[in-house]
Amino acid sequence: MTTAVETKTMTFVGAVNEALDEALAADPRVFLLGEDLADPAGGVSGATAGLSTKHGRDRVLDTPISEAAIAGAAIGAALEGRIPVAEIMIMDFITIAMDQIVNLAAKARFMSANRTPCPITVRTASFGGLGTGATHSQSLEAWFMHVPGIKVAIPSTPADAKGLLTAAIFDPDPCLVVETVALYGSRGEVPIGRYAVELGTADVKRQGSDVTVVAYGRAVVDALAAAEHLGTTEGIDVEVLDLRTLVPLDTDALRASVGKTGRAVVAHYAVEFAGPGAELAARIAADHFGSLKAPVRRVGARFRPIPAARGLEQAVYPSAERIAAAVRETMTFTR
């Protein structure tokens, strides 16, 4: 799928903006809808800045604060062959749109025996880490993994932000793309021009031989920091596998990496209990039961509402330190 070769340095949010810009330019059926998207607001975090000015307000639609109607209107348009990209400003607000996404979009192709497929894209963002408290900080992706019928992509780098969003917009099935506001300012090399990352392809962000850290989204950044630290100070060679999409799941990459290292830590910002890592750890344990050198460890958010005060919030979320501690545990485990 990678077609572009030239790259430029961009921020994460800039890459999101570029993916939307290029999709709007590439296909007249593409349109955006959501709260505060049009200029001069240009999105609450600037993800859609300039797009209504460039492509018109009939392609970048400001909506009322009506998450069910945003999702529902996207669904209706998609049923007619349009290509809507709906924004749910903060992931916690997706609770209001759950019925539409879960009961209509995810089931439309199957329930209709392919007569009314519904390839919407829903963009949303996790605001965790900004001290905004329990209703503006959640990572709820496990809910969507649990619903048969919707793809779930969570980029960790600017290049993946562009590539996964582009793929999602033009995917024939409904997709949820979860961005991370704490990463919006991060910079990286991003391919110029049309660039799509095939959904369901994990990416080894760092090669290693001792332990695989399986992560996605913001936890990839923490995992890479932990790997650097462990490699330089403790001689532990950590591989970081960025899943990039939870559905579809790149089980081949997962098997290959853990098959090589024999140890696995699963890390994410979603709540650890019954989180995505539970499914991943179960799969790893089943696939590598005889060859695992240590039990699979999980590092997720603690099972608490996300507190607002900085110190408390940090105590709930994963971190490079917590991931490093889990890696050490897999290294020192003895039967």
Partner: protein
């Protein structure tokens, strides 16, 4: 803005009268036959009977163009027939056979038939309303003057989806005809216990939208009201709310003992059955003769019997249906 009757626009020609009466009789015959089969144990199925409400789809079915869209609900078999979905597809889906609209994967509550304009049928009360807004948005984006009718019950007008959808359709002035089939009961609770307004049509006032209360047991009144609303929508005049007041003869689901229903109230409603009422009117006004009406009665019953026999002779879905029409690309999708 509300009134007890909409302006008369489209005339009721003998051809229109014939279509109105035929839809009513055909819908009732289908509903009767399905309930008969369920109660006798001839087949296992669930329906939410529409008996008593047939004048509404008769009216909108005659008023709308074939390319106009419809969104309806689980109590929508009469709506399907009014919009022209083939009987075999309807009955086949209710019975879960290979000839059903979605080969048994949707069921009674989830029949779609885009060829007849039926884009969505929901089992979640109120959920179809925002989707209708999206369908109408797509029509505008395509430059089409088609309109979208969305049916729902009185209970749905108490949901957030309804109000979000009404507001968005009004804000964007989209050609949506909101058709409330007010059968005076939300599942098993009478309307007076669930809203503190005299008529649902008044809810249009909140959205600066034309709202009319219509005799939902008079197919010509519905026909006029929908024709006028469609005309306004096609001309760019935005949405309309129609409250079609009717009654539900057979309870919430087939077999409902209706313990909540005062016997005299049901008896009075059945005595005013809209089908014999319209039949008498057509005879008295000389629009259709007894011979013609009897022929319609017999042909309708014959069509239902023929469709039912075709469905009963059809096989159940193939076992591999579970792997069809899910994601278009199944790579990485859990089994």
């Amino acid at each position: 803005m509300t009134s007890t009757a909409a302006k008369t626009s489209a005339p009721v020609t003998p051809d229109v009268a014939r279509q109105l009466y035929t839809t009513m009789v055909l819908s009732a015959a289908c509903d009767e036959r399905l309930r008969q089969g369920i109660s006798r144990g001839e087949f296992a199925a669930t329906i939410w009977p529409s008996r008593g409400q047939e004048a509404i789809p008769a009216g909108f079915g005659a008023a709308l163009r074939s390319d106009d869209r419809l969104v309806t609900t689980y109590r929508g078999l009469h709506d399907m027939i009014g919009k022209g979905v083939p009987l075999v597809e309807v009955i086949g889906e209710v019975l879960g056979r290979r000839v059903g609209a979605s080969r048994g994967k949707g069921g009674t509550m989830h029949i779609t038939c885009p060829e007849a304009g039926v884009m969505l049928c929901t089992g979640i009360v109120g959920a179809g309303v925002p989707v209708a807004v999206g369908l109408a948005l797509a029509a505008r984006q395509e430059g089409s003057d088609r309109v979208v009718a969305v049916c729902f019950g009185d209970g749905a007008t108490n949901t957030g989806s309804f109000h979000e959808g009404m507001n968005l359709a009004s804000t964007w002035q989209l050609p949506v005809i909101f058709i409330c089939q007010n059968n005076l009961f939300a599942e098993m609770t009478p309307i007076g216990e669930t809203m503190h307004i005299d008529q649902v049509a008044d809810r249009a006032l909140a959205y600066a939208m034309p709202g009319f209360r219509v005799d939902g047991n008079d197919p010509e009144a519905v026909y006029h009201a929908v024709s006028e609303a469609a005309e306004r929508g096609r001309a760019g005049g935005g949405p309309t709310l129609l409250e079609c007041v009717t009654f539900r003869f057979k309870g919430h689901y087939a077999g409902d003992p209706q313990r909540y229903m005062p016997a005299e109230r049901l008896a009075a409603a059945e005595a005013a059955d809209p089908i014999p009422r319209y039949r008498r009117k057509l005879l008295e006004t000389g629009v259709l003769s007894e011979e013609v009406l009897t022929a319609i009665d017999e042909q309708s019953k014959g069509q239902v019997d023929e469709a039912m026999n075709a469905v009963l002779a059809a096989p159940p879905p193939e076992p591999d249906e579970l792997d069809k029409d899910f994601f278009l690309d199944m790579k990485g999708i859990p089994t």
